[in-house]
Symmetry: C2
């Protein structure tokens, strides 16, 4: 029932990018350091996000990563599916392909209900909801951080 670190890394990185001043890019090293994630591993995570269309990468000097969409338009469900593929709780979520016991499997209903719930939350939560500066509805924890927008330069 655990979410993978990979997924967590991805979210944190996206949040990091979302905090940057408009149009600015952050390099791998900066993201990695800010979150104590191994650079070489984070590189892999970022590639996924690039391929997934959420992030743009710039090569060469002063290169780095930046968001490709507004934080409001990036949902956790998108991130999840890019990083982990389709959301599922058991192997045999939908079909009896791999399960000889599928016929009359009474658990299937529960798994589906679970997925609907989780998927719903993921779909309704956007990157914007994860930004600290918004004191509104979904971010109750008060943040005492200052100068979070200092990157690169």
């Amino acid at each position: 029932m655990q979410l993978s670190k990979t997924f967590d890394y991805a979210i944190r990185s996206l949040v990091y990018l979302a905090k940057l001043p408009q149009g600015q890019a952050a390099e791998l090293r900066a993201i990695s350091l800010s979150q104590s994630v191994p650079m070489s591993y984070l590189a892999k995570v970022m590639r996924h996000l690039v391929r997934g269309g959420l992030v743009t990468s710039i090569l060469g000097r002063d290169g780095g990563y930046s968001l490709r969409k507004s934080p409001r338009d990036i949902t956790l469900l998108q991130v999840y599916e890019i990083m982990e593929g389709e959301l599922r709780f058991v192997e045999c979520m939908e079909s009896d392909r791999n399960c000889s016991l599928f016929n009359g499997c009474t658990q299937a209903t529960v798994w589906r209900r679970l997925r609907q719930a989780v998927e719903g939350i993921f779909r309704e939560t956007t990157l914007e909801d994860l930004l600290p500066k918004n004191p509104g509805e979904s971010v109750p924890t008060p943040i005492k951080e200052s100068g979070y927008a200092r990157a690169g330069a």
Copy 2:
């Protein structure tokens, strides 16, 4: 985000026991065969359920396992906690013990919401909900034994 096979095995076994005529016990081998779960592994699962108080075990000839409560009084949450411990999605669910970044962790809210949702479903789903309702349609679990497969009715 996957549920463990162990958890699934536990549920299936409990459902199997719930289908037995009142007061009857099923031995390890029977449960194992009915679900193609390795006996020696299932033994371990069953021990958890016994220690967890959901199941009684009887040693010696004609021994086996039987439910200790009514299916209506066994929730999936109980089963989950017995098998896997407290429900959590990330290491640092509640405290900053292991996380230097906890202060200002905006994801925590989402993880909590997730847990509430899943926990809710688990708490409201009982073993009884997993028993085949209509003897005519959804019953047939592929069990080779004689009269076991029929519940209630």
